[in-house]
């Protein structure tokens, strides 16, 4: 295939897959049919574009092919009355020249992709199915790709997807953007699914590789789409900015041997400036709406790090204050831990240690390696090396990835053998 055609297809896939699937589901209510026909349209493009040239409107071309395939398929199933009626509806649509409806209207409530997102993320579906379905239907990942990303066998993932689609069809899960009174609650559900997807990619919870870039890229792409489709929802901008800030550090997060490099020690010249600039712009616009929410606050925190030229120049006082604000809206245990870190950095390791110790005695986050790791870090900064070593050992036992264990072991070695660090609390 010519390079130009290959690029055009790749680009069209990113732009058009979700749109085609979403439109076909609306017309036929048949998720598998929609996915199959979208797949076939792209296969057809791969056959024809290299010789025929890339059509002027690739999206319209693909939509037409996919829709014709759907009509053919439904005609073949003529024996079934209900299907025949659907086929008739599709044929009518074509003559009605409704293509504009499928292809135009980039923003807002009328976009089929928004219906698709809300349906994929419906709270009556199990959380893991919501993530998988969003990746399949909207991002166009194959079942195998999704299974690999979540480290589950392909048949398990296939079953998960089949069950979710079955429930949508048989339990009466509506294919629509929810009515106004449900929008806030459902929107935060959609945002949670996208952030979970991103985090799954960002800190692979098991396995050897720390970053599975694909899921992060997909999550960013979907967050971008959501932000475009819901321009009046500042939290969608908040989430996108948050992801971009975190994503911008991907090159600096690990060293050449795959070991973790902490935020403090990262080479900031390897942070992706373009993404940081974008995130700043998106976040500025979101907070201007004056409807602050947890994602915007987290993005504001991430911005403090991203915009500090050197680790030592980080505005920890502002970060600690932002975490306090965040705790007012979501009393999440992880946020309590991060708050403790920020307080420790802003006012000294004693204050941080006090907060972490309180968190540890409360039994919250008992199995989370970063709790003892944070305690260890404060103890190290206070020169209490043997206590720090114990806490590091505890953290090593709880760590879930090889990279985390290696990092913690390195720290453990440093406090076990080295002299007390001379550096002051701010690090």
């Amino acid at each position: 295939m010519s390079r130009q055609a290959a690029l055009a297809i790749e680009e069209a896939f990113t732009e058009e897959w979700g749109r085609i699937v979403a439109a076909l589901i609306r017309r036929t209510r048949d998720w598998d049919l929609a996915e199959d026909c979208a797949q076939q349209a792209f296969a057809e493009a791969a056959r024809r574009w290299p010789s025929d040239g890339v059509p002027r409107q690739p999206g319209a071309w693909l939509m037409t092919v996919a829709r014709n395939r759907a009509i053919d398929r439904l005609r073949h199933e003529r024996m079934r009355d209900a299907r025949l009626r659907e086929a008739a509806a599709l044929v009518d649509d074509r003559s009605d020249d409704e293509d504009d409806e499928d292809l135009g209207d980039e923003r807002g409530i009328g976009d089929d992709r928004l219906r698709l997102i809300f349906t994929c993320c419906h709270p009556a579906l199990p959380l893991e199915a919501r993530v998988a379905l969003t990746l399949r239907a909207l991002a166009g990942l194959t079942t195998t790709e999704i299974a690999n990303a979540f480290l589950v066998p392909k048949p398990t993932m296939a079953k998960r997807l089949v069950r979710a689609k079955h429930k949508i069809e048989h339990a009466g899960i509506p294919y629509r953007v929810p009515p106004a009174h449900l929008v806030p609650e459902r929107t935060s559900g959609v945002l949670a699914v996208l952030y979970l997807m991103f985090n799954e990619g960002y800190a692979a919870s098991t396995g050897d590789d720390l970053v599975r870039v694909d899921l992060c890229v997909e999550a960013v792409r979907l967050a971008r789409l959501l932000n475009r489709l819901m321009p009046d929802e500042p939290e969608s901008g908040g989430l996108l900015a948050l992801m971009l800030f975190q994503h911008s550090r991907r090159e600096a997060r690990t060293d050449p041997s795959g070991d973790i490099v902490t935020l403090e020690e990262q080479d900031r010249s390897r942070w992706n400036r373009t993404e940081i600039d974008q995130a700043n712009t998106i976040l500025d616009e979101a907070v201007r709406a004056d409807a602050i929410g947890p994602y915007q606050v987290q993005a504001l925190i991430a911005a403090c790090h991203a915009n500090a030229p050197r680790a030592a120049g980080t505005d920890w006082t502002r970060i600690a204050a932002l975490y306090e604000r965040l705790l007012e809206v979501t009393a999440n245990r992880l946020i309590k831990l991060n708050h403790a870190v920020a307080v420790g950095m802003a006012t000294g390791p004693e204050a941080g240690l006090a907060l972490v110790t309180r968190l540890a005695t409360s039994g919250e986050l008992r199995d989370y390696h970063l709790l003892p790791a944070t305690r260890a870090d404060f103890l190290r900064r206070l020169g209490r090396n043997s206590e720090a070593a114990d806490a590091y050992r505890e953290a090593v036992n709880l760590a879930r990835t090889e990279a985390e264990r290696r990092y913690l072991n390195k720290r453990l070695q440093a406090v076990s053998t080295g002299p007390a660090p001379a550096e002051a609390g701010g690090g």
Binding site: H122, A124, H170, A171, G172, P174, L182
Partner: protein, 113 residues
Amino acid sequence: MKYMMLVCRDPSIELSPEQRTTIGPEVEAWISEMDGRGVRVQGQELEGVQDATTIRVRGGEVVVADGPFAETKEQIAGFDILDCADLDEAMEVAAKHPVAWLGSLELRPFAEG
């Protein structure tokens, strides 16, 4: 779309004296609201599982047992048949039922065809 809404109570949760006096009128209020909206087709409170009888036919023999067919923590205290636009509406109707605060409500769509 029709749904069977199973009203499940957790017998280990003791109602306070106040709850015991208010739950009846609350359920009545829910019934009249949902009847008024036309989303409740019918419904019935049931006697407790101590009065249940389970029937099986095994090897041609009728096997009768005292009690429910499944020993679960939650017990079906009643049911309502809902006729709703979609699951979103059924979820909203269920969430308004007073037992949602004490037990749980299971929405089972009617099988099609």
